[in-house]
């Protein structure tokens, strides 16, 4: 039984206790023996006299100056501190019992003993060593080697780690042969070896070669003819441009990258279940090649696409296998996680850097200057990357954008209409006949005054010293802290607290100062729920705000603070809950206010113990009314601000300047990642973000952080790493001067659209616009936070509109509008849907520690995230650095121009796929175990050219394909074969067998059955199966989408397509930089007998008949053009015609699809 998806939650305690057992399980070889360590000697020891003789006797033979075993020297203090290849420091100064050296000489763990052979150290010797370490491991007595510098990993003189130097293009003896600088480098080596290049291949051969290498498909006879007859001198570069612009190119070249990225669409391991959403990454890679996305950007997006608006890129990180079978066994769980991250480290370092960093998981790299610490620094980069689906933010096409804009405009209009009808019912809007929908009123002013929020401090005056607040209990019931409200009740707006005082009769306790002039509907609230609360408090409106003058005070309401607002007498008979609750809002009617008016709370005369106060709400009223209106149950408030995205809509306003002023934030200096300002759609002009290009100014910017700069406020890029932060705590403003005045109606802003951060969020703000900023009085407030429910309030998602007080027609109209609003909202959401894609999720990781021997149960010292020590680049990361920032830092480091590996590795991969072998024939290993380049200067020249071109892959490809070198004939020649049989020096174009995908695609192409639909989920080569451990049984019949290109084959990890998979197709188990090239009988059987090839032979035959008619000779002519790109010679034609006569056309087609000439690029 496979315990899938077993949750370890709730098992944590037991799991922790089992750690020791799990350790035994994982490190079975080293059974722990609790032998007591000899105690350290209790006297001062001297290095020269006491310690060195021990080293000399037992250690120096293997760990001396010459070829020290495990790269560990006992004769240097620095080496003792750094340790050897194990990555474990040999001594921990002052802590002998923890020192690796002592553990080994005392054989603390059975079998792990030094010296491994010969006499063991005596107890006394161990005691001396312990004492020496405890006493500070001093190197004394005139013995050399005491320097305390821990040796760093050095780049040494290994070629690939040296900076790229663009060499001079060599002068050669045959300059006329040279077409691109590449040829000069090639010719130089050929000359030095006494070789000459081959003649240029004929046009038909070259055009077939170009099609197959660049698009993975053979050219049609028309395409061949077009080129063969093209007499323009630049016919060849024209053809190449055309092919590089062909979408088939991306489908071909993405395959090469997907091999390197060990991309597959199942999880691997035992269950090997599908990842139905993994294809987004494949589409991303195909598009990247087709667009010629700059390679440095391509790299960055694959490591940190979530920060760069290319979510799908991070499919790279989680492209590998994922063991879904979970267990409560912590040892297993930790090892699974450790393996996942190891896969990310391995793939990232080999793919981009050509370095096998993963070799340093258990010990320092055996060949390259990569320490175990480096490995764990890398682990710190990826420790927060998890397997799984993530919502992918879609990028809209311009048409979709315009459509979405139109819908948004429509939505605003619909909502306005609905609100107006609702307001009729609420009694605050006139029910005037002929009142036209869309005839928007100016923004209604709303004021929420919470007695306790910092921003309201200026509006609230406590006249009596308060007690510690009453705290609403947590829960969703009426009046509780998370009460989300319902259709008749506001959510809990109080922030969960109310103030209270000991009760004294006829005393003024608190004033609320709205500071606004006009007619406002007023709502009150208080702390309720206790029998001790005052039963007859008075709320008064003091018009002039001067409490001494009482003749301007008018009673708003007398309130019984024991009960919820608006409770009926019947309800009041229920027993009180005896909990500190929020009363809800009591509507006390509309009242005329002036700027100095205050609302005052005054105790009455009834006997009680406490009086309370809480939030009050005022909303501008358009209806001249003075009495409480029972139909107007609560104010209309917008949802609370959130860290991701907030939208403000308002009646169109002409603006040249837009200012966003922050009054309060939930923490620190407030941050805005992007401020978008949308113009109203005008005729055919769609609404657009007019903030782009505007000039930003601000109250002050957070200093010295490249990712937080004023320019990021309107750079079109979202997320924390492209954001603005104010220089002042909790406040600040930012202003945009538009390039030209525009009618605007919508502003969108957020703290972090990528949802990594929720701190530094502006919770109270005002947005003003002006057509002319020179006159302050011209600023118009278009939106603010005051009509939002307070930050942190939970709201129910009940229907937005209420029908109370409406006539039947009005209600019907409102119903219609409500349905329309919902429908339009849904359409808008469909543009903003975040389809689930297998591109990983991110979480802030725990501290990363070096693991002794890579064992997750043997953690050692903490390691900061970072790059490779040998490059001396401090990425300035630590365990507190945010997860995303770590990946961005690594991505930036990999793609910085002076990283010597990134460009070299990629141009070599490009070269490899043009010639079959790279200049370095170990494309993912540029370390010491890898091969040296055959043409080091050429490699450097290409690498530099690559960077200079803006990391253009197509630029390098064009240089290669238009070179004389690549255009040579591929015929073998006797003399060069003797000197350089594998043609590494490129005296000919090396013939190559097509890869599995190109073989299949070519067959379908010549049979004219290829379905060329691009993108989206793939087709499957296997029958449906839903066993919980997937079983992959090959399909027998292929039809419809099964005849799309093979790159779209649903890539099952570790299982091959039954026919074409036999042609050395990588299985997605490990990254594959270079496919093996084998020739097997199984391949022959597959291609000669499989149903798919037989089916295609039939289709091919039908095509020949339909296009060439019934004459065998014509059929053969066409078949040769289609398969080989040439006409048959007479002998071939005769043999073919005679064969067709005897065995029929399908048999001829079957043979053609099996020929060497069809399967080889020559």
């Amino acid at each position: 039984m496979h315990e899938r998806f077993f949750s370890i939650i709730g098992q944590a305690k037991r799991v922790m206790l089992s750690t020791c057992l799990a350790w035994m399980l994982l490190s079975h070889a080293s059974i722990l023996v609790a032998a007591p360590l000899p105690q350290p000697l209790k006297r001062d020891v001297d290095f020269a006299k006491d310690v060195q003789p021990i080293f000399t006797e037992h250690c120096i033979k293997c760990h001396g100056e010459k070829k020290p075993k495990g790269e560990f020297r006992i004769d240097q203090r620095a080496s003792l501190i750094a340790g050897g290849d194990s990555g474990e420091p040999a001594i921990a100064i002052g802590k002998s019992a923890e020192s690796h050296l002592i553990k080994l000489v005392a054989e603390v763990s059975k079998g792990d003993v030094m010296p491994p052979k010969g006499k063991a150290l005596s107890e006394e010797q161990i005691a001396i060593l312990r004492a020496w370490i405890d006493q500070g491991a001093k190197w004394s007595g005139g013995v050399a080697g005491g320097e305390d510098v821990v040796p760093r990993m050095q780049r040494g003189d290994h070629w690939s780690l040296q900076p790229i130097k663009r060499p001079e293009v060599p002068k050669v003896k045959t300059p006329s042969w040279v077409r691109t600088p590449i040829d000069a480098f090639i010719a130089q080596k050929l000359e030095a070896s006494g070789l000459t290049p081959s003649a240029e291949a004929d046009r038909a051969t070259r055009v077939r070669r170009a099609y197959l290498v660049l698009t993975g498909l053979p050219p049609s006879p028309q395409q061949i003819e077009a080129f063969v007859k093209d007499e323009r001198p630049d016919a060849w570069p024209r053809l190449i441009d055309q092919l590089l612009a062909n979408p088939r190119y991306g489908e071909r070249w993405a395959r090469h990258w997907l091999d390197v990225a060990r991309f597959a669409e199942t999880n691997g391991f035992e269950t090997n279940t599908p990842r139905p959403n993994a294809w987004h990454y494949r589409d991303y890679v195909i598009a990247a090649f087709n667009e010629d996305k700059p390679y440095d950007q391509f790299v960055r997006e694959q490591i940190a696409g979530d920060a760069l608006g290319e979510d799908a890129g991070t499919g790279f990180l989680v492209g590998g296998a994922y063991d879904q079978v979970k267990s409560p066994d912590i040892g297993l769980t930790l090892m699974q996680r450790s393996d996942e991250i190891n896969d990310m480290i391995n793939t990232t370092s080999t793919a981009f850097l050509g370095l096998t960093v993963a070799c340093a998981r258990c010990h320092n790299h055996k060949f390259d200057p990569i320490s175990q610490k480096d490995y764990y620094a890398f682990m710190g980069i990826f420790a927060g990357v998890n397997h799984g689906d993530r919502g992918m933010r879609t990028k809209l096409s311009p048409e979709q954008q315009a459509q979405a804009d139109a819908l948004r405009t429509e939505l605003v209009s619909l909502k306005t209409q609905a609100t107006r009808i609702e307001d009729i019912g609420r009694g605050i809007a006139a029910n005037k006949p002929g009142d036209k929908p869309g005839n928007e009123q100016p923004a209604v002013r709303t004021i929420v005054i919470d007695d306790e929020t910092t921003a309201a401090v200026a509006r609230v005056t406590h006249l009596v010293k308060t007690n510690p607040p009453g705290m609403n209990p947590t829960g969703k019931q009426r009046g509780y802290r998370e009460d989300p409200g319902d259709i008749d009740r506001m959510p809990n707006l109080s922030g969960g607290r109310y103030v209270w005082w000991g009760y004294k009769p006829s005393t003024d306790y608190i004033t609320y100062h709205p500071g606004a002039k006009g007619q406002f509907q007023i709502w009150l609230s208080w702390g309720s729920g206790w029998g001790t609360h005052a039963a007859d408090v008075q709320y008064l409106l003091d018009l002039d705000g001067d409490l001494k003058t009482r003749d301007d005070q008018k009673l708003l309401a007398t309130v019984d603070q024991r009960y919820f607002a608006g409770m009926t007498d019947e309800e009041k008979k229920q027993p009180l809950p005896s909990k500190p609750l929020w009363s809800g809002l009591l509507n006390v009617g509309a009242h005329e206010l002036n700027k100095s008016s205050v609302i005052l709370l005054r105790s009455g005369t009834a006997q009680s113990e406490a009086i309370t106060a809480d939030v009050v709400v005022l909303q501008e009223s358009v209806q001249p009314q003075t009495t409480a209106n029972s139909k107007l149950i609560h104010p209309r408030l917008r949802e609370a601000v959130n860290a991701r995205i907030n939208e403000e809509t308002f009646a169109p306003q002409k603006a040249k300047f837009v200012r966003f002023t922050i009054h309060a934030a939930n923490s620190g200096e407030p941050c805005i990642d992007e401020l978008e300002i949308y113009s109203t759609a005008l005729g055919t002009m769609p609404s657009r973000n007019v903030a782009i290009g505007a000039i930003p100014t601000s109250s002050g910017d957070y200093p010295n952080t490249p990712i937080h700069q004023l320019k990021h406020i309107n750079d079109g890029q979202v997320g924390n790493s492209q954001s603005w932060i104010s220089s002042t705590n909790g406040t600040g403003w930012v202003q945009l001067e538009l390039t030209e005045p525009a009618m605007i109606h919508r502003i969108v802003w957020g703290r972090d659209r990528l949802q990594q951060y929720a701190d530094r969020l502006a919770t109270q703000y005002t947005i003003e616009v002006s057509a002319d900023a020179s006159k302050p009085e011209n600023w118009i407030t278009v939106s603010c936070s005051q009509d939002r429910v307070p930050f942190g309030t939970t709201m129910s998602d009940l229907p937005a509109y209420r029908f109370a007080g409406l006539s039947r027609d009005q209600a019907n109209e409102l119903r219609r509008l409500t349905a329309e609003v919902a429908s339009v909202q849904k359409q808008i959401e469909s543009f903003a849907t975040n389809p689930a894609a297998y591109i990983g999720t991110f979480s802030q990781p725990a501290v990363v520690k070096r693991l002794f021997r890579g064992d997750p149960l043997a953690p050692r010292e903490e390691v900061d995230p970072g790059a490779l020590e040998m490059f001396d680049d401090d990425l300035k990361l630590n365990s507190k650095t945010s997860e995303q920032k770590r990946r961005i830092a690594l991505a930036d480091w990999i793609t910085q121009k002076d990283n010597p590996l990134t460009a070299r590795v990629m141009v070599n991969r490009i070269w490899h796929h043009h010639f079959g072998t790279g200049l370095v024939d170990t494309p993912s290993d540029f370390g010491k175990m890898g091969s040296k380049p055959t043409h080091p200067e050429l490699l450097d020249w290409l690498a530099d050219e690559f960077i200079q071109s803006g990391w253009s892959i197509k630029h390098i490809q064009k240089l290669i394909v238009t070179s004389a070198t690549w255009q040579q004939a591929s015929f073998p020649r006797d003399e060069p074969m003797k000197i350089d049989a594998s043609a590494r020096l490129l005296w000919r174009f090396p013939p190559q067998r097509l890869e599995a995908e190109a073989i299949r695609d070519s067959i379908l192409s010549v049979a004219s059955t290829l379905v060329d639909r691009m993108g989206g989920p793939g087709w499957s080569a296997f029958k449906n199966n839903d066993n919980y451990v997937r079983v992959y049984t090959p399909k027998d019949q292929f039809a419809g989408d099964d005849l799309r290109r093979m790159i779209y084959m649903y890539k099952v990890r570790m299982e091959h397509d039954a026919t074409f998979g036999t042609f050395d197709c990588p299985d997605g188990g490990q990254p594959t930089a270079k496919r093996t090239q084998s020739t097997t009988a199984i391949q022959a059987l597959a291609l000669f007998n499989s149903t798919i090839v037989m089916q295609q032979a039939q289709a091919f035959s039908a095509r020949l008949q339909s296009e060439a008619g019934d004459k065998s000779a014509a059929q053969v002519q066409l078949a040769y053009m289609l398969c080989f790109g040439r006409a048959p010679v007479q002998k071939e034609l005769d043999a073919s015609v005679s064969f067709i006569g005897a065995q029929g056309l399908p048999a001829f087609c079957r043979a053609m699809l099996n020929t060497n000439e069809f399967l080889f690029v020559q």
Binding site: M1, H2, E3, R14, S18, L25, H28, A29, R262, F269, E270, A321, D323, V325, S327, P328, L332, D339, D343, T356, D925, M929, G930, P972, M977, K978, A981, S982, R993, N1027, Y1028, V1029, V1031, Y1032, P1034, D1067, G1068, G1069, Q1070, T1076, Q1077, S1078, T1079, T1080, A1081, I1082, L1085, F1088, T1091, E1132, A1135, F1139, A1142, Q1143, A1147, A1151, N1154, T1155, F1160, Q1162
Partner: protein, 494 residues
């Protein structure tokens, strides 16, 4: 086959002569660079990696081992699902004594599926067998009779307690996906002496593929030619036979025509070995088309043999596995280098497809035991009686063992990689012999603890290969079957 063979085809069929002609067969430069690389690697004080030199035209040609081998071929019988060692091979009287009591120190034990119940006596009776008196249970009575021919390793330890990684580890030396199987390594190292058969054949159980499916016999980053070819008595090699609609003559004529086209093409590219290798591969394919049906045709076996194996059993799974065992012998007879024979398939419900007895172990093993026992014993006996055991290594294994306790609230045992049994018989191993031991309950290996690396190292050693030297360069690493671990278990060597 009446058709005259091409030059390449003759070379292919005469592969024993291959080594002598390597110098001319391989492109000179490629060979030189390979050799240079080998010697450079060997410059250190340890013996350097050895990468077998593979002729593209005859990649399966026999290659020389590193030292004189005891075994020339291997049959590896793999019981998928983790067969319980404490109910079969590893006799623990203490389990009977402490039946129903908690295992000391196990209060906080969490294994794969969770909490443990009490120690449970073996579910099958153990008794002494053969001259040696080795205690083996009645789960496998027929195999038990052969105790004197078997060398037991009771102290095996694994690296994972999940089936997928466990099977990967046993078959490839890595718990992760993506590494070549032991059979692929062996065919890469030694090629084959079977002229017209694959060097490495995997025989899946009649019920289906094992849990790690094809990766048990995959070639991963080794060239595809070394991957195991899957076939069993019921399911022939994929694409082996000519398409149904095509007559034998038409098929042959097409083959001849194809060769004609390829030969004409080759004339323009003389000396390009990959082209001639492809021509040769069609010839080997044609030979396989003839030879595989012959080797798979059990009708030539005597009724006595069929009965010995149980191939006549009315239960299709039993007879199916029996036929697979006969097929294994026939393949070995033909010189196939490595046969991996599976008993047990992927999980298809609680313990149904394989040996994974979590809940009702006895009930399940009552079914699985008889499927395995009689045919497997017949195979071992048959190999012995034919004298083949002299130079054939018979290996029995499972991905790990099971707990001496029942799972809490169940009548089955959870996974246990801390101690389990594997065994070998035949060429080069001591028998009867017992190596290593688990603790008194069979929970953990405590004496002569052995790893799967050690197990693999020993198999390679018996085949004349040094596990520390046999290597393939991939993505920056000289890859080995045993990674950087493993020691030959010398005490088991005869």
């Amino acid at each position: 086959m009446s058709q005259a063979l091409s030059h390449e085809g003759r070379r292919l069929l005469n592969r024993r002569s291959f080594l002598a002609s390597t110098g001319t067969g391989l492109s000179a430069m490629a060979l030189t660079s390979l050799l240079a690389r080998q010697s450079a690697m060997a410059a250190g004080d340890k013996p350097g990696p050895i990468r077998p030199v593979v002729d593209p035209q005859a990649p399966l040609a026999a290659r020389k081992p590193h030292h004189l081998p005891k075994a020339k071929r291997v049959v590896m019988l793999f019981c998928s699902g983790a067969m319980s060692h404490v109910d079969s091979w590893d006799y623990k009287p203490s389990l009977i004594k402490h039946d129903g009591k908690p295992m000391p120190g196990s209060e906080k034990l969490v294994t794969f599926q969770g909490a443990q119940g009490n120690l449970t006596a073996p579910l099958y009776n153990f008794k002494p067998r053969g001259q040696s008196g080795k205690y083996i249970s009645d789960l496998v009575p027929n195999l038990a009779e052969l105790a004197d021919d078997i060398c037991f390793i009771h102290s095996m330890t694994g690296k994972s307690n999940t089936h997928g990684p466990g099977e990967n580890y046993m078959s490839t030396g890595f718990t992760l996906d993506g590494f070549p199987s032991i059979g692929a390594w062996v065919s890469y190292a030694l090629g084959s002496v079977a002229d017209n058969l694959p060097a490495f054949v995997a025989i899946p159980d009649p019920r289906g593929v094992p849990q790690s499916s094809t990766r048990n016999w995959g070639s991963a980053f080794l060239p595809a030619v070394f991957q195991g070819t899957a076939l069993n008595a019921a399911q022939p090699v994929r694409n082996l036979s000519r398409p149904a609609a095509i007559s034998k003559d038409a098929d042959q004529a097409t083959r001849d025509f194809l060769k004609l086209l390829n030969d004409q093409h080759l004339e323009r590219y003389p000396g390009d070995t990959e082209l001639s290798a492809r021509i040769a591969s069609y010839e080997l394919a044609a030979k396989m088309q003839l030879s595989v049906p012959v080797v798979s045709d059990l009708s030539t076996e005597s009724p006595a043999t069929l009965a010995d194996y149980g191939a006549d059993d009315p239960n299709p799974t039993k007879s199916g596995f029996a036929k697979n065992c006969i097929l294994a012998r026939r393949l070995l007879e033909q010189g196939v280098r490595f046969v991996q024979l599976f008993n047990g398939a992927y999980a298809m419900g609680e313990g149904v497809g394989n040996w994974d007895g979590h809940k009702t172990l006895k009930k399940q093993y009552d079914i699985h035991g008889p499927i395995l026992d009689k045919p497997a014993a017949a195979l071992l006996r048959d190999l012995k009686s034919r004298g083949m055991l002299e130079d054939t290594l018979f290996v029995w294994c499972s991905e790990f063992g099971r707990m001496p306790t029942f799972q809490a609230g169940a009548s089955g045992r959870d996974h246990n990689p801390s101690g389990f049994t594997a065994w070998m018989a035949g060429a080069g191993v001591k028998a009867p012999f017992t190596y290593g031991a688990t603790d008194e309950f069979g929970y953990k290996a405590v004496e002569n603890v052995a790893t799967v690396y050690d197990f693999h190292a020993t198999i390679l050693h018996l085949l004349g290969l040094n596990h520390e030297q046999l290597s393939f360069y991939h993505n920056g690493i000289e890859r080995r079957l045993t990674d950087v671990h493993g020691h030959v278990i010398k005490p088991v060597l005869a």
